[in-house]
Symmetry: C2
Subunit: 217 residues, 2 copies
DNA sequence: CGGTTAATTGAACGCATTCAACACGAGTGG
DNA sequence: CCACTCGTGTTGAATGCGTTCAATTAACCG
């Protein structure tokens, strides 16, 4: 039997070529200031987006104000791929960012070819893999494991020494289904165990990969 | 009876016609005994499945044995639509059941037409909607709300008086990220509040739809 | 019937939350 | 340069929700 929890390469692999091609040629670029909405919860699904620079988060609010962060999207990532017809999650600029978008109808008429359909399907599937991992994370992991898993995801994206944390503690908490206090406690705890090190609150470095992996299991 | 439950109709809508057509003509039927595996975690994604009779659950195990149930699939539902190349969740027969399957390659060569691609995309998207709801449920809801939401889902599927619970408490717990004891407590509590009624442990009836909706919010 | 598994209930515990106070850094203006 | 503020992050103490462990009851099936 192979590893019960294989790492998800969906997060690091680039989006399918056919889509990036269309994006490059037809995409319209737009800047979004920090904490502004790119599309709202309930909006029609009309565009397909790609992060050019900055970071984007998707969020969903319950009627009584609790917030769940869906995911974080980095430069090169596609987002806005939702079942439709309307967005169940809103997308917001986590930092000042530039986003490129094309109408989905444009994408569709553009090619009419199977290649493009497959590309969209592939991107959607990738999104699904993330969601599946997220479900496991939220359903069956302790606070310590959640935070460890989160740091690991980030570290995988930005290989090498120091890893930046573009999001604040509240965003992490709402992604992990925790409170900011718990997130903070787990971070200091992981640091105390010499598994990671935080030179500042928004930057860290993994000291013991194996220990982090064990935790994220 | 029309319900104002805001969440998704992905659960009740039938799968796209193009796919059911292919399924009907080319699908191979197979019986699976209760609690046997239909495909395993880690298996190659090769087939597309449809429940004919009985109920199927998808599950995922962490290396230390914790279990997360992905979803439950009823007659008419498609499953096995995973990002691939390998299954991140296993599929098991929750009860004795009959499942129809076709090779994905067959599906692909069959048509080569956009219609079929769209059908698969649509089915995948629907799967995604479920996952998104599941993420919100697991991340930001109390035990009481989780259980209420779960009962509501079931009741929506089987409109009318009595609703059957095909799964045991353990499956419910692993779906909701709780323990069997907590699930049981919440059920008796909801019954005590006259919101639902359980004539037996595997059958219930909703007494106050509005109250249930409020909770599931 | 007994024998077995599933479900419920009770009591004690513990993890994460809540509420509150404090520390830190960046920006502003005296 | 220091004082002040504001936002963000950390830390502490007390509470509570869900878990854990254990015992009881109900359902199922020979």
């Amino acid at each position: 039997m192979t590893l019960a929890y294989p790492l998800n390469d969906a997060r690091v692999a680039p989006p399918p070529a056919a889509l990036t091609g269309v994006m490059d040629r037809l995409g319209v670029r737009a800047g979004h200031a920090k904490d502004t909405e790119i599309y709202a919860q309930g909006d029609d699904v009309q565009y397909l987006y790609r992060v050019v620079s900055g970071v984007v988060r998707t969020t969903r609010l319950t009627c009584d104000g609790r917030r769940q962060v869906g995911d974080f999207y980095y430069p090169g990532d596609l987002f806005g791929l939702e079942p439709g017809p309307d967005h169940r999650f809103a997308a917001e600029a986590l930092s000042d960012c530039v986003v490129q978008s094309v109408r989905r109808t444009t994408v569709r008429t553009m090619a009419g070819d199977a290649e493009l359909d497959r590309a969209i399907l592939e991107a959607t599937s990738r999104e699904m893999a993330r969601l599946q991992d997220h479900v496991l994370l939220l359903g069956r992991k302790s606070a310590r494991e959640k935070v460890a898993g989160f740091l690991m995801q980030l570290a995988q994206r930005q290989p090498g020494g120091a890893v930046m944390l573009p999001m604040g503690r509240q965003d992490m908490a709402d992604y992990l289904g925790l409170t900011i206090e718990t997130v903070s406690r787990m971070l200091t705890q992981l640091q105390g165990d010499l598994i990671v090190e935080f030179p500042s609150s928004r930057r860290f470095q993994v000291k013991q990969w194996d220990a982090l992996e064990d935790l994220a299991a």
